[in-house]
Amino acid sequence: MASVCFYFQVHQPYRLRRYSIFDTVSNYFDDAKNAEICRKVANKCYLPANQCIYDLIKLHEGRFRVSYALTGVVMDQFASYMPEVLDSFKRLADTGCVEFIAETYYHSLSFLYSRDEFREQIRMQQDRIHELFGQRSSVFRNTELIYNNEVAAAAAELGYKAIICEGADHLLGYRSPNYVYRPPNADIKVLLKNYRLSDDIAFRFGNRGWSEWPLTAEKFAGWVNDVNGDGFTVNLFMDYETLGEHQWADTGIFDFLYHMPGQVLKQGNDFKTPGEVADSYEVVGEYDAHHLISWADTERDLSAWLGNAMQSNALTEIYKLEGAVKAKNDPVLLSDWRRLQTSDHFYYMCTKYFADGDVHKYFNPYESPYDSYINFMNVLDNIQSRAK
């Protein structure tokens, strides 16, 4: 029997407004645009997808199970702009079939720059999850699945029994991502993303040039079933926005989602949340990640956030302010500073594929990575003056 383990990342950043060097007021965020995007994605993805998953849980009487990592900043934006999305997540939580995963409140790269800030942000996110859904997480995942042995050890130290990360070929070698592993340096289970099957849904589903198009529920359930004999679990990790936003409804993504669980169950396989996978299966080997990996691009490294001089400069500068900002004891200043830590701001500065106009451009509210850096540094300049 193979277990399908769904994990969805749910996140929206607080996008900055145009902030020139001549601006002096301290409202940095583009409320109108953030509200608009939040509503748009809620209507295209969050609300219909939550409904679909709720229906599936009812239809299969609890045998369909999923997990979510909601960032603090997306929960805040739902509360401000689309409270009905939070309600629909609460309804899902009440089914008992949904697990919420721990992560940093601000979807930040704080692990790399400040362990204090890292722990603080996880605690904040956990408090919010508990407040909204009455759960405490037992599984952790770091921003954009940024991972190495150190991250695993830090999660173990915080008491998590499992951590989610990318199943990178260069670390697995001949081995399969469909088992449970552990890092060499800590007592925690590592769940690896099966990127082939995950990306079949997340990236290739609507691609008519793909040899497997159209992907039907039956076909996919067959691929899941093929895992039997070499693995216990198929970890399907993806952005929640895949459903309806990256893959539009007219690709048939919701029909696929609705029919796939029945097909999987019919062949004798099941669904488990990450916590249940960790409880059910023993570790078979070591996943040894000395260098940082992530789930981004083909490189699976950090170059989308830390690939050029602007990005490392902006990150260094913002964490330099930690002491000064915290010493001010000003909750608004602290919140502003933390919202600026959201990894998306640094992703917008990525020059890697800029000229080719790919996925990076699609999600980028700026005309160029340079514009985003200039804007960010102008805001940071103002934050700095407030922290003096």
Partner: protein, 453 residues
Amino acid sequence: MLGWEFPPFISGGLGTACFGLTRAMSELGHEVIFVLPQAIAENANAEHVQLRSPTPAQIARAERSTFTRYFPAGMTNVEVRSVPSSLRPYDRPGDEQVRTTTITRVGADGTMEEVVVNENGEEVSAADQPTSVIDHGKPASGSGHYGGDMFFEVHRYAKLAVEIALSETFDVIHAHDWMTYAAGIAVAAATGKPLVVHVHSTEFDRSGEHVNQRIYDIERQGVHAADKAIAVSMLTRGILLSRYAADPSKVEVVYNAIDKNGGVAEPPPSIRRDEKIVLFLGRITMQKGPEYFLMAAKKVLEYEPETRFIMAGSGDMIRSSIELAAELGIGHKVMFPGFLRGDDVTRVFQMADLYVMPSVSEPFGIAPLEALSNDVPVIISKQSGVSEILSHVLKVDFWDVNEMANKIIAVLRHPPLRAALREHGTFEVRRLTWKESARGCVDVYQAAIARRS
């Protein structure tokens, strides 16, 4: 090829483009007969070459003799036929009144001297002043007279071009910008060969809405008579379709390029100062937006006082620009070194921390490519053709002075921004070669020939 300017007679992008294209064509194995309107230099050994117009006697002498014919070095398939003419690429009817202005010239070593220049920014020695530099051998008189003279020159050049054409064999005629269109049409009529006109700029770019009707008519006639037209950008193509009613199936876009000539490894200027240098380099005319540069400079100086602005170039707005700088109270921070060429251009790029091209309407804009190939970060206006092909530069609307200043300040303040722009910009500009442009032109030639058959 009916074109313009071969080194050292280069005063702008048009000459650079003709030269780059021709050399690349030669490398690709295409034979080019280049008909070059060439002024007769009275004192050819002068250090600062001053283009002189021929006297009627000289023209007559030249016309009696055979056309000068030479093979430019390094171009095996190119033969230049220079014809005596007083046409110059950036002349305009009505330019007869030569005004002079005193400007400050910055030397390579940072020294400054005051020099007298004419309105094209060319240095004028005191002895030259009484007899104006652009003296077309006619008695000074009203502007209408001179304007007529210029259009006369366009037709005389056409006549000479036809004479050359009748004694040559070739497959296609390629004419660059309006002053050669009449010649292109005439040669096409005389020989039956297909005509390709290459639009480097239009009257709307040069004059805004105050177009010279006769120039517009010549441009329109050229674009309509041509079998194919080449626009230097989508921006220019759009103007040809909307303002000249050009047939969309006729107009193709071929972007300009730059050849990195290895780069002379000059030592950096001896006085590496605490000041940052922001550079404007181009003709100082309405089209190039010098006043927006100055208004942005004013704002930048409020935040980054240790900055110097250099406006290198010549043009009819040089005087008003100097006055505007003074009015804004930043005269001491803005320098006008006049028209630069050759090593002086390289030197000024090496001094610059940032190059800004605030053009109001720029069909293409080769100077930003030169800046990038000299490792200088670049800000360009969105109203430029070159912005269609450059990603790793900063872009602003020419009128958005605040945003221009915001970006200038950011470049001056943040070394990582300069580093990223340089690193990616240098890489990007390397892909834009004249060979690629020449291939684009050859494709257009083939289409033009196919239209005839």
